[in-house]
């Protein structure tokens, strides 16, 4: 085995190269993980600024800051950047850093491809962002880009948008293939699949989802490209196509995509809660099966995003029942986390705070998701702020909080230094308050009848919109504190021990802090079934 490793790394010295070329040419999983994480954070701030433009405009009724055309560009770009630029690369970055360390592998299985899959991203997003400066403006048709608004009625920049999506797709697909090949082939001898930490499990399943649905996204944007430039009519009724077909194909990708953004979060939280409860994860097996069931269900529920397009009643009922079923495995997970905490010996360092907030706030998002699955009620909820509140509850205090939790949890291992706990907790509380003040009132705004993607609104929605905007600014600016904490931790601080956390289990805690540039060049001896 070690022979193979040598082969992979003939282009490497024992330590990192110096200077810029280290980052450009690197095939080291830790370097690439770092690149992904920084890229993701940059995109998080970019998309966040766009969110603040949106919330600032919605602070009061009337058009104060931007015109509706630009507002639509902001909502579209905010969505695209957060989904494809912030959340997904962050998880890929975490996978790069952690998967090899958790399974006792020396690196990712395909290091050169790993380098390519990262370096595609800056090009993809430069292209996407450059559309803001093009004639006719950036894409303005929402991140779901429904035809014909995104085809016959789109600004010229749509072609660049399509190519950017293609590039992001290629990057994700390469990244996922790498994860799957690594997990299936490079586990330390003796580590069975059911011995793997849950983060590895959830990422394995996520990678399969990505491999299955990113090509479908590529397909749908290719069809758009052909409709726009080559005279086909996939999505135009006049040529024998159907705009509703777009929605079906898009959501066939889109729903699994939603779970792509949450499954790794489940893995992270399942690592953190046991550590700080000083107690084994409750129901490991059922966690794995629940994750797999959620992934499977994600392929057969897509049309619940389209209840109002006018489906036959049998279709509506099927998609309602199938969607409701997702509540069962998701419930299992939440109950398992609660049971893990139960009778533990808990401490609440920053990662734990984020993880616990994740469980509670994600559950709120899950419950509103259950409400949205009920078709007759969905007719009233659909495309209102209730939906905005719902998916932001699962994505911000869901995915984003889990990423923050992961960053605090593994930072000491990555940098060798402890982060500043007081600042970390301050960051948590500001984020926690900000997130709830932003998104909780949006449930009310939606139920009272405010549709989403509106640059301006009727007077009865004014109060809660103002509250929501205040929350958004609190949340947004607290993230600068996070940046400061991370930089401070990289620069120095209290030295971290190898184990870092008192109750932490897993191979990554058996190596030195900071993790050496090359780890597990020879596979580790597994402790007796400690992972199971």
């Amino acid at each position: 085995m070690s022979a193979v490793i040598e082969n992979h790394h003939d282009d490497h010295h024992h330590g990192p190269d110096k200077g810029l070329m280290r980052w450009v040419l690197t095939t080291n999983h830790k370097d690439i993980g770092t690149l992904y994480l920084w890229f993701s954070f940059a995109m998080f701030l970019t998309g966040g600024c766009m969110a603040l433009v949106i919330r600032a405009e919605l602070f009061q009724p009337g058009l104060q800051l931007v015109v509706p055309e630009f507002f639509n560009q902001m909502t579209t770009m905010h969505g695209l950047i957060m989904v494809f630029g912030a959340v997904m690369p962050a998880f890929v970055g975490l996978a790069n850093w952690l998967v090899p360390m958790m399974i006792g592998a020396p690196d990712m299985a395909l290091p050169r491809m790993n380098n390519y899959s990262f370096w595609i991203l800056p090009f993809a997003f430069s292209m996407l962002l450059s559309t803001l400066f093009m004639e006719g403006g950036a894409p303005n048709f929402g991140w779901t880009f429904y035809a014909p608004l995104s085809t016959e009625y789109a600004p010229p920049s749509v072609t660049f948008f399509i190519f950017a999506v293609h590039l992001m797709g290629i990057s994700s697909i390469m990244g996922s293939i790498n994860v799957v090949v690594t997990i299936l082939n490079l586990r330390a001898p003796g580590m069975r699949l059911m011995d793997m930490p849950l983060f590895v499990w959830t990422w394995l399943i996520t990678a399969y989802l990505l491999i299955a649905v990113m090509p479908v996204l590529a397909g749908v944007v290719t069809m758009m490209l052909m409709d726009i430039h080559f005279g086909t009519a996939f999505f135009s009724a006049g040529g024998g196509g159907d705009p509703v077909l777009f929605q079906h194909v898009f959501w066939f990708f889109g729903h699994p995509e939603v779970y792509i953004m949450i499954l790794p979060a489940f893995g992270i939280v399942s690592a953190i809660i046991p550590t700080f409860a000083r107690k084994k994860l409750f129901g490991y097996d059922s966690m794995v099966y629940a994750t797999a069931s959620i992934a499977f269900l994600s392929f057969i529920v897509w049309a619940h995003h389209m209840f109002t397009v006018g489906m036959p009643i049998a279709g509506e009922l099927y998609f309602m029942y199938a969607t409701m079923l997702i509540a069962v495995p998701t419930g299992v997970k939440v109950f398992n986390w609660a049971a893990t905490m139960w009778q533990g010996s808990m401490t609440f360092e920053t990662p734990m705070l984020f993880a616990v907030a994740f469980v509670i706030l994600f559950t709120i998002g899950g419950l509103s998701g259950l409400m949205l699955s009920i078709v007759p009620a969905d007719f009233q909820y659909h495309d209102t702020y209730f939906v905005v509140a719902h998916f932001h509850y699962v994505l911000v205090p869901g995915s984003i909080f889990s990423i923050m939790a992961a960053a605090y949890y593994w930072l000491p291992k990555w940098t060798g230094n402890m982060y500043d706990e007081t600042l970390g907790k301050t960051h948590f509380w500001l984020s926690f308050v900000g997130v709830n003040v932003t998104f909780f009132p949006q449930h009310f705004i939606g139920l009272a009848g405010m549709p989403r993607r509106y640059p301006d609104y009727a007077l009865q929605f004014a109060d809660w919109n103002m509250v929501s905007s205040v929350g958004a600014f609190i949340f947004g600016f607290s993230q600068l504190l996070f940046l400061f904490i991370v930089i401070k931790c990289i620069m120095g601080g209290k030295k971290a021990t190898d184990e870092v956390w008192e109750g932490a289990e897993g191979l990554e805690w058996t190596i030195a802090s900071p993790a050496p540039y090359h780890t597990f060049s020879t596979p580790p001896e597994l402790p007796e079934r400690s992972m199971a």
């Binding site: 299985a109 299936l184 005279g231 996939f234 077909l245 079906h248």
Partner: protein, 185 residues
């Protein structure tokens, strides 16, 4: 240990690349699958292509009347005049019915149009059998030209009892550019 592992990796990678290509193709396969779904369920009220009356004919339900409404619309900036000869008909399920639609082209150039049918409620779509319809082909009209376009249809006697009124809508799309670019290729 070393070599098999390398081979395994290559094999896993190739398999996954195969899945990727397969799923890309599957995205396109959703197009015909969607058409089948529409045919089966009548989603969007799409009607089938030309209907062939069975050899032994269709039994006429003499006791039942169904109202068929005709609705005409022009999509986007389509400038043609387009209207049905009659706005609605009372018909017996099983009987052959005939009507015409009028179209004329006021634009200063020859245009090609395609009429897209849609039936509401759409669970009635599969019971609307058209033996002849102008929507089966494209219409080309020169400047100022007008045309009376025929529609012959039978309502299936198995139309659910709950449907007393059936709306057949035609939306006229301007496909001049689309056909021009197809011809150019």
């Amino acid at each position: 240990m070393a070599m098999p592992n390398q081979k395994l990796q290559t094999r896993t990678t190739l398999k996954l690349v195969g899945v990727v290509l397969g799923m890309f193709a599957f995205g396109f396969a959703l197009v015909p699958l969607y058409d089948i779904y529409c045919q089966v369920t009548g989603a969007n009220g799409k009607t089938a292509s030309a209907y062939v009356v069975p050899e032994d004919g269709i039994a006429v339900d003499a006791d039942r009347w169904v109202t068929v409404q005709f609705l005409t619309n022009n999509n986007a900036s389509m400038p043609w005049s387009f209207r049905p000869e009659v706005r609605s008909m009372k018909v017996r399920p099983g009987e052959m019915n005939q009507t015409t639609f009028y179209a004329s082209n006021p634009a200063g150039y020859t245009m090609t149009a395609q009429a897209i049918p849609s039936v509401a409620p759409f669970h009635a779509a599969e019971y609307m059998h058209k033996t002849e319809c102008f929507c089966f082909e494209q219409q080309v009209l020169a400047t100022g030209e007008a045309i009376d376009m025929p529609l012959r249809f039978i309502i299936d006697p198995y139309l659910p009892e709950s449907v007393q009124t059936l709306t057949l809508s035609y939306t006229l799309f301007d496909i001049t550019d689309m056909t021009a670019s197809a011809a150019a290729e």
